[in-house]
């Protein structure tokens, strides 16, 4: 159980929160539990690498189900990421909930269970353990998105998210069943080393779809934008840094199998489509967190494209760097929304230029996302775009990079341009609790330092020649700079540029309604089917009831023979007696 002890501090903290109602105890135990898990994970990352632990859970005759944990490199990366982000988010949320003490125990219970499930996901080596963690992630995400009970939109968003995720869950379960029945084991190392790979075709496709539902890829991508109804710490943790990347991680673990089955092109296609959808929607969105949600969708799509091009190094680098800058941007947006009365429209958020810390950290976050050399996602994005030899793909990826820098600078420029200086707002910014500022600063430092992992990873994954691609670096920098320029011209400078509302590009940017229409076609189909089956149900019931009615009516008619009239009885008896004699004579004497 050595590896699984990372979960124990958080689980004990959950138990304490369930038992005690005092707010201070709740917050303290959450914070201490997550920091203790962080320390344990660091210990395991340094001293207990490359361990595999397998336990038997239950067995029935020939089937044996086990749980296994491992600390290989991929597992350690995700474990450390989750362990670092959890205390940061917990401390941020202590500050965030200062004015609102509504349901705080419920919040921490759900967050800690989520974090434990994420750590369990990180250390699992067995498809069954992954599935256990996967489902718990789904339900805690549902409870956290629908956290504010009195917001109807939040409940609706939570319902849409869980309905999408359950599709993936059930397909994942089917894949596990097929793999288990065929191979008798669900160990990932066993699957990678098996010789008969053609049997894995169907389960791997099912797992791929499950990963798409969890990581909000086309056509399952609408739930992520709606999930921004959650409180900001939830958005910063679940829907940017950890849970949505579970799908990417699963595919990364199983990548050798996809390689030998030849299914990688699907990842590239789906990733490109999702990235285009995400980028165009982010350009037209006004809600401050939904833009970041679309940006998360775009990052996940880039990770899938990288995995599809077999560049696991680039995918992991983006994985690590994206955690920090995305959480940073979400936390900053939480501060901005707090200071503006929870107003979420970027055209109405004022005062970004007043608070120096928030301004500087936002600028650093935005630079990391756009990928200006040498910060943040620069190396990752340029590695991804140069991974394939296809010129069309290269141009599309460059276009995506351009638009992504445009939209994220738009996200920053519009609030920067809004006038600030209302005294009330300035005080609100100034009074942002240190518990919110400290995690932001820590995350900024981590976001600045994150690209250095390039050097550590490079030696393990493959030997990457950093200086061989200078031409690509130059092109990427130019593209990103063009994006910033566009954003500046449109949104920051004082020139007024008119785009007519009938412009085709303008309309294309508001395309999330099309996908929602696509979903509602499915919903309506189910409702029609349900009407049809309800009619059948009603007719079956009426058939049985009417057959009973026929018997009843037949009885009513036959009853009329008993009419109390002795003359009728006498005649019927006489006729019957005559018949009886005739039949009797036939039977006994054989006379006809």
């Amino acid at each position: 159980m050595i590896i699984a002890t990372v979960l124990f501090p958080m689980l004990i903290a959950t138990l304490l929160i369930v038992l005690f109602k005092n707010e201070t105890i709740v917050k303290l135990s959450a914070a201490i539990g997550s920091i203790a898990s962080l320390l344990l994970s660091i210990y395991i990352a340094i001293f207990d690498r490359n361990i595999l632990e397998q336990y038997k859970w239950f067995n029935l005759i020939s089937y044996s189900f086990g749980i296994s944990f491992a600390t290989y490199l991929l597992n350690i990366i995700l474990l450390l990421l989750v362990a670092i982000m959890t205390p940061i988010i917990v401390i941020y949320s202590i500050g965030y909930f200062k004015g609102k003490s509504y349901g705080i125990r419920r919040f921490y219970i759900e967050m800690l269970i989520f974090a434990s499930a994420m750590m369990l996901f990180a250390i699992s080596e067995n498809l069954i353990t992954i599935f256990i963690a996967w489902e718990i992630l789904g339900i805690t995400s549902y409870m956290l998105i629908g956290f504010w009970y009195d917001r109807e939109e939040a409940q609706e968003a939570a319902r849409r998210s869980i309905t999408t995720i359950v599709i993936g869950d059930i397909l994942f379960l089917s894949a596990i069943i097929i793999i288990f029945a065929t191979f008798g084991t669900t160990e990932i190392s066993g699957l990678i080393n098996t010789t008969n790979k053609s049997l894995l075709y169907l389960p791997m496709i099912l797992i791929m779809i499950a990963a798409f539902t969890k990581s909000a890829q086309f056509p399952f991508n609408e739930w992520l934008a709606d999930a921004m109804e959650a409180p900001t710490p939830v958005s910063a943790f679940l829907h940017s840094s950890t849970m949505v990347k579970a799908g990417v991680f699963l595919i990364a673990l199983l990548l050798p199998i996809y390689e030998s089955l030849g299914l990688n092109y699907i990842f590239v296609i789906v990733g490109v489509i999702t990235a285009i959808i995400a980028v165009t929607n982010a350009l037209s969105e006004h809600h401050i967190k939904r833009i970041l949600a679309y940006s998360t969708m775009e990052d996940l799509a880039l990770m899938f494209i990288a995995l599809g091009l077999f560049n696991i190094f680039a995918a992991m680098l983006l994985f690590i760097v994206q955690t920090f800058y995305k959480a940073l941007l979400f936390m900053n947006s939480g501060v901005m929304m707090n200071a503006n009365n929870d107003n979420s429209d970027i055209y109405k958020i004022h005062g970004l230029k007043d608070n120096r810390i928030i301004r500087i950290t936002t600028i650093i976050g935005v630079i990391s996302l756009a990928g200006i050399i040498p910060f943040g996602s620069f190396f990752a994005k340029s590695m991804i775009s140069t991974s394939s030899n296809n010129i069309i793909l290269y141009i599309m990826l460059l276009a995506i990079e351009l638009l992504s820098s445009t939209y994220i600078f738009r996200w920053m420029f519009i609030p920067l341009k809004n006038k600030g200086a209302s005294k009330l707002r300035y005080n609100k910014y100034k009074n942002t609790s240190n518990l919110m500022k400290a995690p932001i600063i820590i995350t900024t430092i981590l976001a600045l330092l994150a690209p250095i992992t390039l050097l550590f990873l490079g030696g393990v994954f493959n030997t990457y020649n950093m200086f061989g691609n200078l031409f690509a670096y130059v092109i990427d920098s130019i593209v990103i700079a063009i994006g910033i320029l566009i954003a500046y011209v449109f949104f920051m400078s004082n020139t007024k540029i008119k785009i007519s509302k009938n412009n085709i590009l303008y309309k294309a940017a508001y395309n999330s309604t099309l996908i929602n229409k696509f979903y509602s076609i499915f919903g309506n189909a189910f409702v029609y089917l349900s009407d049809f089956f309800n009619t059948i149900d009603y007719s079956i019931l009426k058939t049985f009831q009417s057959s009973g009615m026929y018997i009843y009516k037949f009885g009513m008619r036959t009853r009329k023979i008993v009419n109390g009239n002795v003359n009728d009885y006498y005649i019927v008896a006489l006729i019957g007696f005559v018949f009886l004699i005739i039949i009797f004579s036939f039977v006994v004497f054989g006379v006809f």
Binding site: F65, I132, Y149, R151, R159, L173, F180, F526, L529, F544
Partner: protein
């Protein structure tokens, strides 16, 4: 050890006898005490099995020597698990009887009687005895729905009774045919199993078909399911818990026994599988548009029964054990859902999904119990239902290939409409509906018992599974 079955029945009989004569304030407690004692006895039997490996034991009394019939009770591992389920659900149902507002003496009496008939059914190893307890269950449920049910109770109970009478007649016909055609002319199940090869194939398949239709009406499966919506909906809360958890398992246990007694061919099994698939998809689509929460849950129970059928028809041992595990786990989860739904009906006076909002504000325990029930029904790991799903579908896939995995799609649709109820009614607190009554504090214990049982068998499945392999 020898007399433990008699002790069990003595406790049941004492409970049933004492309830009508005890003072009004104590009758529910009396029933609870005796149910608790029965639960302890069953646990003791399981403990004996696991630790000392004492099995099987049977109790045999002379009954009708001319018909070669003895009163034969045998404790098999399967019956132990089903009895455990019966006692847990009965305790929860007794805890959910409201002391002043309902006629608690009648309800406690009927629930104890139903518990007697269930335990007798699962223990009996003689077909005539099986039939007697079957009928007893039907009559008890009829009384529950008719006398203690809500406004449409008369109609619903009559419909239930008519369907059940047809089912019992077919069952009796099948039993008589078995009696006539087994060479040993005995109704004991073990002699039937031993002699099953000697029944001529033509008459054997007729008997199988007749009894299969009889059980099909009871589970229920499409197309004989029309009684289920109204019966479950009009029953009182404790009645719904007990009916949904246990009565549907009567039919499934019967089909299980049928598969044990007769040999089946692969083509027969595939046709039964197709019946189960059709029934599952049918009930899922009918349930989407239901406006009555209990009717919706009744159809969800039908889907779960169809999934358990897949386990039974797969024909291999994993399938049988998975089906029994599934009966236990799914029985508990649907009982929990009906308990929460019955509580909602008692709190708000209405069962309509459209009108009720913000259950979580009025009774947080009911809301979270319902949410947990939905998690369990969709197969969350660390609940027993996940284990049951894996065992059932793995065995189904082994026997039938990809055809057996098609019903797993119905779980997605079940999840879709159940989560819709949660987000529109249970958690949505924008305009809370006012509750017309509060709840007494005992209700939360009923939730806790069932939730604890579901989680226990989900986290430690090896305890239940070692019961199977100890035989």
């Amino acid at each position: 050890m020898i007399y433990i079955i008699l002790i069990l029945f003595a406790m049941l009989a004492a409970g049933i006898a004492l309830v009508p004569i005890s003072p009004r304030a104590l009758c529910r407690r009396t029933a609870l005490i005796f149910s608790g004692v029965i639960f302890a006895i069953i646990l003791h039997m399981i403990f004996n099995l696991l630790v000392y490996n004492i099995l099987p034991y049977s109790e045999s009394l002379a009954y009708i020597p001319e018909l070669n019939t003895r009163v034969l009770f045998t404790v098999t591992p399967i019956s132990m698990i089903l009895m455990l389920m019966t006692s847990i659900i009965s305790i929860a149902a007794l805890l959910s009887i409201r002391p002043i507002l309902e006629r608690e003496r009648g309800l406690s009496f009927l629930i104890m009687l139903f518990q007697l008939s269930s335990i007798g059914l699962f223990l009996s190893y003689n077909l005539l005895l099986f039939f007697m307890f079957w009928e007893m269950g039907i009559i008890t449920v009829f009384m529950l729905i008719n006398i203690f049910g809500s406004s449409e109770g008369n109609n619903a109970s009559m419909r239930f009774l008519m369907y059940s009478i047809v089912s019992s007649s077919l069952l009796l016909l099948g039993i008589i045919l078995i009696y006539l055609y087994t060479p040993a002319h005995s109704l004991n199940i073990d002699t039937i199993i031993a002699n099953s090869a000697t029944i001529p194939y033509a008459i054997g398949s007729v008997i199988f078909a007749i009894m299969f239709v009889a059980f099909m009406i009871k589970i229920p499966l499409f197309p004989f399911h029309s009684w289920v919506g109204s019966a479950y909906a009009e029953a009182p809360t404790s009645g719904s818990v007990v009916i949904s958890g246990i009565l549907s398992k009567y039919g499934l246990y019967g089909i299980f026994m049928l598969f044990v007694m007769f040999n089946t061919t692969q083509s027969m099994r595939i046709s039964i599988l197709i019946i189960a698939i059709i029934s599952a998809f049918y009930s899922v689509f009918v349930a989407i548009k239901s406006r009555d929460i209990k009717v919706l849950l009744a159809y969800t129970g039908m889907v779960e029964s169809a999934i358990i059928m897949i386990g039974i028809t797969s024909g291999n041992t994993t399938g049988y054990y998975g089906a029994i595990y599934g009966m236990f786990a799914y029985g508990l989860s649907i009982a929990l859902l009906f308990l929460a739904a019955g509580t909602i009906e008692q709190m708000y006076g209405s069962r309509s999904v459209d009108n009720i909002k913000a259950i979580v504000k009025n009774s947080a325990s009911t809301a979270y119990a319902f949410i947990f029930g939905v998690f369990a029904a969709t197969g969350l790991p660390l609940t027993g239902i996940f284990i049951a799903d894996i065992l059932i579908f793995t065995s189904g896939f082994e026997s039938f290939g990809i055809l057996a995995l098609i019903p797993i799609v119905t779980i997605m649709i079940v999840a879709a409409y159940l989560y819709r109820i949660i987000s529109k009614s249970v958690l949505n607190s924008k305009e809370p509906t006012l509750a017309i009554r509060g709840l007494e504090s005992d209700r939360i214990f009923a939730y806790i018992i069932i939730i604890a049982a579901i989680i226990f068998i989900g986290v430690f499945p090896s305890i239940i599974l070692s019961i199977f392999s100890a035989s």
